[in-house]
């Protein structure tokens, strides 16, 4: 039916196709852009209980002695992760602003070398942005020999701007088996 179209009709059709395809390509890109956008959004709002990366402590940090926050530690093994994994202390109380060191125990109970990745998550999620880790085993993958065990450190502090209505922060680590993934990328 194109023969019924006038020459100008053809031209404006091409224009429509070009800009609509532009929208299509743009939105496809936007779909992927949502991934980093979401990361940023999560980090700002603490959505989903995601904690930020390594926190740099400034020397002038003040400790808020007026209140104590209960920090609770949880460990989970994701499917097919047979290691023993548990917090050395189950919970502690800290003043906001005060740096604390705790340890987590892990043991490779299997007969093979395994690599694990711990993923942190905080509940309630709105507390996540006030929980700062200056040192965490979750920043790196952990490789353990058969039967090897390890005490892994976490140094953290709770921001003194933590809203007053929050009294408890629960930090949960889930241990994932990433042995296959790491060996694959290395080879």
């Amino acid at each position: 039916m194109t023969d019924d179209n006038t020459h100008t009709g053809q031209k404006s059709n091409r224009k429509v196709v070009i800009w609509t395809l532009g929208v299509v390509v743009g939105m496809f890109g936007f779909g992927f852009a949502l991934v980093p956008l979401y990361e940023v959004f999560c980090e700002i709002t603490g959505l989903n209980g995601k904690t930020g990366g390594r926190y740099e402590v400034s020397s002038t940090i003040e400790v808020d002695d007026t209140r104590r926050i209960r920090v609770q530690f949880l460990t989970n093994n994701n499917e097919n992760m047979p290691w023993q994994f548990k917090p050395v202390v189950r919970e502690i109380k800290v003043h906001p602003g005060e740096q604390m060191k705790v340890e987590f125990y892990a043991k490779n109970t299997t007969g093979k070398i395994m690599v694990a990745q711990a993923v942190p998550s905080i509940s309630p999620a709105e507390g996540a942005e006030y929980f700062h880790k200056t040192e965490c085993f979750c920043f790196n993958q952990q490789t353990l020999q058969p039967g090897e065990d390890i005490n892994m450190p976490l140094i953290f502090l709770v921001d003194k701007n933590l809203p007053d209505r929050l009294h408890t922060l629960t930090l949960s680590y889930t241990l994932f088996d990433v042995t296959e993934k790491t060996t694959k990328t290395k080879s």
């Binding site: 496809f28 992927f32 979401y38 990745q117 990433v178």
Partner: protein, 527 residues
């Protein structure tokens, strides 16, 4: 299919080619429209059969017919086929048939692309359906395919599913581009935007939604593909990803998608109700603005599908308020339809019956939608049969009834014959009763605590489920009557006049019935 052709008494100088090649190579908007409509009807029957497998299993407590794994494949495939195979192609078929005739154009603006966008579909669905026969079975993770159930834990057929979705997406995008080009470039002289029939308006807005969100769907399935085969971690917490991200991206597509399925239905109702009320549509401009507002709002409400994933309070409040706002423009539309009927001169032919049922039942679906928008209460409704009842009320008597209404309304124009009115009314009443028997009890079992997507249920849900199942079989078998009515109408019947309906208004009714192979070779003048 060729029966449709045989009845076109077409004396135009280049009429249709003969035989199968006509359908393969055709660039004619009516041929392609018919193929879309037949394709969607076949998919409707396949998806419907799957629904009947589901309802047969749920007829009584206990596992009787299928195993739980296959049950999940059925719910997944039923959803995917109905959404992407039945409802969307049916509306594209209507757009193909009607938009050129309504705006006074000879054909669609990009006829060769039109051919492509249709012929991709059978291959996409062959690919999807073939997964039923693969080892590990068809996709079984629900039509919303939440990660990681659809990635790490998916059957191997998920790759075919992903390619199938890509192909459907390409088809819809090409269809949408064609609609936009046709409406923007091929309107008859004098047909300003604000004089366009509402069906054209709603489709223009739908087309924009399609080109905006189908690429996002393509993006999300591509990420799945990469997670499954290329070791990325978009949705796996182990590599720094997040399964909840999947839901955000999916619903960013998914919510506009549900409006893609309902906006053209609004357009159909806005054509039919004035005709049989013999009165102009009340508040035409406000209808256009309401449609546009619904489309825009649909981009900022997606997380109301995710109230239970653990959003922060502020997030819950924002998405709750935004979702509630949608009730305003939707309400305006319903009020306008009712005002159109008010003090009209009403007759109740089959299209009007379907249109009235559409308004009433869609409004009921809207009410349950408003209830679902209330975040704290949604904690009790979420993922129960109340949700199933809600979206079936907006999709079956919403989208599908409007498609039936459109089919009856324009069949005389397409075939040149009147359909059998008595049979049409029988089809309506049986569908109406069957549908309400099927879906109304689902509100009750949902409120009483029955989760969705389960193959077996506790004893207290037994009675209503039995009612639902019987309604479903009534509704399902009734649709064969529709097939019979359409075939009968194609083969013959009372000759239709050009205007067909006493109150009909619009350019398509100035063409003879059946409409000539090429719609308007000379552009008509619109006052």
């Amino acid at each position: 299919m060729s029966a449709v052709v045989g009845e076109h008494h077409d004396d135009h100088h280049h009429g249709p080619a003969k035989g199968l090649t006509r359908w393969i190579y055709t660039t004619n908007h009516k041929d392609i429209g018919s193929m879309y409509l037949w394709f969607s009807f076949i998919m409707f029957l396949i998806g419907g059969t799957m629904a009947l497998v589901i309802r047969a299993e749920l007829f009584e407590p206990g596992m009787q017919i299928v195993d739980p794994g296959f049950f999940n494949q059925m719910t997944t495939m039923h959803g995917l086929i109905m959404v992407f195979g039945a409802v969307m192609p049916a509306f594209v078929g209507l757009a193909n048939w009607l938009i050129p005739m309504m705006v006074g154009a000879p054909d669609m603006a990009l006829p060769r692309m039109n051919n492509w966008s249709f012929w991709i579909l059978p291959f996409a669905f062959a690919l999807l359906l073939s997964s039923l026969f693969m080892e590990g079975g068809a996709p079984n993770f629900g039509w919303t395919f939440y990660a990681p159930l659809s990635t790490t834990y998916a059957p191997p057929s998920v790759t075919y599913f992903i390619f199938g979705v890509h192909m459907m997406g390409v088809s819809s995008i090409m269809g949408a581009i064609n609609v936009i080009a046709t409406i923007l470039n091929l309107r008859a002289p004098g047909m300003t935007l604000m004089k366009m029939p509402l069906f054209v308006w709603t489709w223009l807005i739908t087309a924009f939604l399609l080109i905006a969100v189908m690429p996002v769907l393509a993006g999300v399935v591509t990420m799945m593909l990469m997670d499954i085969h290329f070791d990325t971690s978009f949705f796996s917490a182990a590599g720094g990803g997040d399964p909840v991200l999947f839901q955000h991206v999916f619903w960013f597509f998914g919510h506009p998608e549900v409006y893609i399925m309902i906006l053209p239905a609004f357009g159909v109702a806005s054509q039919i109700i004035p005709t049989f009320s013999r009165k102009r549509l009340f508040g035409y401009p406000s209808m256009v603005y309401a449609t546009a507002s619904i489309a825009i709002l649909s981009f900022v409400v997606w997380a109301h599908h995710m109230f239970t994933v653990g959003l922060p309070l502020a997030g819950e409040l924002f998405f709750m308020y935004a979702t509630m706002l949608i009730a305003v423009p939707t309400g305006v539309k319903v009020f306008n339809w009712v005002s159109t009927m008010f003090r009209g001169s009403l007759t109740f032919e089959t299209p009007m019956l379907f249109a009235i049922a559409f308004v009433i039942l869609f409004t009921i679906g809207g009410f349950s939608g408003l209830m679902l928008a209330i975040a704290p209460v949604d904690f009790q409704y979420h993922d129960t049969y109340f949700v199933v009842a809600h979206f079936h009320y907006v999709l079956v008597p919403g989208a599908i009834f409007s498609i039936f209404a459109a089919a009856y309304y324009w069949l005389p124009k397409w075939t040149g014959h009147m359909y059998d009115e008595a049979l049409g009314k029988a089809h309506f009443w049986l569908s109406f009763i069957g549908l309400n028997l099927t879906f109304f009890p689902m509100h009750f079992v949902g409120l009483a605590g029955m989760p969705r997507r389960i193959p077996d249920y506790a004893m207290q849900f037994a009675d209503f489920n039995m009612v639902s199942s019987m309604g479903a079989f009534l509704f399902g078998t009734t649709q064969l009557l529709f097939l019979f009515i359409v075939l009968k109408c194609i083969r013959g019947g009372k000759k239709a006049t050009a205007q067909v309906w006493e109150g009909a208004d619009g350019l398509e009714w100035t063409l003879p019935s059946p409409a000539p192979y090429h719609s308007f070779s000379e552009p008509p003048q619109v006052k």
